[in-house]
Amino acid sequence: MSRNQVELALHIPTPRARPGDPVDFGHLLIADAGVTRRPASDAAEADMRDLPYGLIRILNDSGQAVGDWATMEAPAFLRDGLRAMVQTRIFEDRLFRAHRQGKTSFFMKSTGEEAMSVAQSMVLAADDMCFPTYRMQGWLIARGYPIVDMINQIYSNERDPLKGRQLPILYSARDYGFYSLSGNVGSRFGHAVGWAMASAYKRDHRIAIGYIGEGTTAEGDFHEALTFASVYRAPVILAITNNQWAISSFSGFAGAEQTTFAAKAIGYGLPGLRVDGNDFLAIVAATRWAAERARANLGATLIEFVTYRASGHSTSDDPTKYRPADEAAHWPLGDPIERLKRHLIEIGEWSEERHTQMEAELGQAVQAAQREAESVGTLGKSKPPVSEMFEGVFKERDWRAAEQCRELGF
């Protein structure tokens, strides 16, 4: 009795490879380095609707910078970027181990994704504001935030800058342009737009950058933020870090089987760029382009960074349960540190020896910071005064806090 041509069937997305299967990234739209065109940063949105389907890449497989997007970056700037990425990786490896040793309750790594937070931290101005995801420790490291204080926060010890109130790595660092993190995903994406709208209202010069994972583009927060950014032409960069996996859910559960994430911009009338997220130079160039556009009062840009979450979601996760164990090794866009290193060597500004020496130095620096934090104490061995639990709920304590603090015996 069907009135339809065919029987209806429910589509459930399925990734191309599960544990034990051969890795398959054949579905990814990957352009060669240098192929995707670079319009002027003041071009009309209607003339750029091809860009969300391209892929902005500058570094080719030989480590050369090629194409329209390639800019002359000072070697010292690139070396600083490399240094911050390496330091981020060393830091995360050590603190991941610290979690395994029972020194804290939770940790998250950004392995393979260091280029975005580091490059954008370096490109944007000190007084711009970043509304980060939880995989962006590189932003703080690139800006010289004291590593010992990051570890104090991770240990929730007596010197924790956030007074033991927040889960490890959910930092807040206003002086470093780093907005307060939360464990809920997506809920700050609109804050970035609101912050940018305020800057425009005040005739200020500052811009904002908001981050969201590809999985979280499914939340209403994403769509609301894009609508407001478009309607009010807010001076904001809206960045999607598409690392292919949201815990165990592949990007198909956020719509990646149908279109690119950058292409979401089209429906909102925003320019959308799709960028190689493991190409430090491409991230720098695309971010400069979007920042220029925002500072020229031309509004928001949506940028999808195509990258890969080489680590598990967190210390609570085991990715070998749901994806091939060697998937990271086959990621077609490589490793951001290796690629920038190769480029610097290619242009005669770096060497394997200097790299090894730098790794050793940074390892020692992180170790020293860890030792210093551990002299204060690890989780449970040291904590801020218990009365801190009742502070900061409101600007001023009300009678409940006073009474309950007494009840607890403090």
């Binding site: 429910l10 459930i12 997305p13 399925t14 599960r18 309750s105 939770f106 929730s156 010890n157 924790d160 007074k163 033991g164 109130r165 927040q166 889960l167 490890p168 959910l170 939360s182 464990g183 809920n184 995903v185 997506g186 999985g215 979280t216 499914a218 939340e219 209403g220 927060d221 949201a246 815990i247 165990s248 859910s249 559960f253 956020a254 719509g255 609570s316 996760d317 349960k321 749901y322 989780l379 904590k383 801020p384 218990v386 801190e388 639990m389 009742f390 709920v393 409940r400 806090a401 309950q404 607890l408």
Partner: protein, 337 residues
Amino acid sequence: MIQALNSALDVMMARDSDILVFGEDVGYFGGVFRVTAGLQERHGLERCFDAPISEGGIIATAIGMGAFGLRPVPEIQFADYILPAFDQLVSEAARLRYRSNGEFWAPITVRAPYGGGIFGGQTHSQSPEAIFAHITGLKTVIPATPYDAKGLLIASIEDDDPVIFLEPKRLYNGPFDGRHDQAVRNWHGEATAQVPEGYYRIPLGQAVVVRQGEAATILAYGTMVHVAQAGIEDSGIDAELIDLRSIVPLDIDTIVASVKKTGRCVILHEASRFGGFGAELSALVQERCFYHLEAPIERVTGWDTPYPHAFEWDYFPGPARVSAALRRVVNDCGVVG
């Protein structure tokens, strides 16, 4: 408890092909707490599947499926993440039957791990039961043992009204009585962890008297049922312990009968105190048992702050606070417990 919940879902999916399980990471992976492990394999890709990270979308589509005639059992990965779906629960699921004069209804069961004691910080530890209990049209169920978890989940799934099914995540792998400095226990060997393999149900709205006593009544649910037992033990007071099991519908008769007998009442929950479900319980007990009360009603709860990471055990209402409250209500009239 994880296996008991898994078994409830498995049994019900086998009985009724209109039951669908979906949510973030519940499909192939089997859920971040493994509650849905194996269900996709056993019942098929279309019966247990992953969802986009969109709690509002998960609940909205569950309501739509329910309106069509299915019986969806969506999972929200942590109760802390349910708030983007709050409008769907409050303005839609809770009122669909009423406003359509019974033309449409939402027979959905929303499962969500809740509660603290796991160093999960502000966004993996909250106990939001009171905000659901406040919404007329939603049922709120909270098991404290594996046996109850299975029977109550089956009854929730069979219920034609929307049910918020909150799973105390600290109890997933074993009982926890708040003595955090002692070795972690598992459910092995516990009488309440003897879970029959097949179908059985525990009707919603029936509290259980976990321990008979004469000196005072403790009202608790979820993890706090176990903490209450430790508090009773520490205090040496002969308290009666009632596990409410569901807070909506609420078994008011069992509560009133007990408080009239003991004349004293201590209410426990992990959630913040102000406006918590304890406030409702306290009002109900006062309204119905005023002339039987020998001491002011006590509430032992989380403090009125967000859940603080470093202060897990300062915040969590442990057995020491329960026994102190018991002593206060008992000693108020000079009766030594």
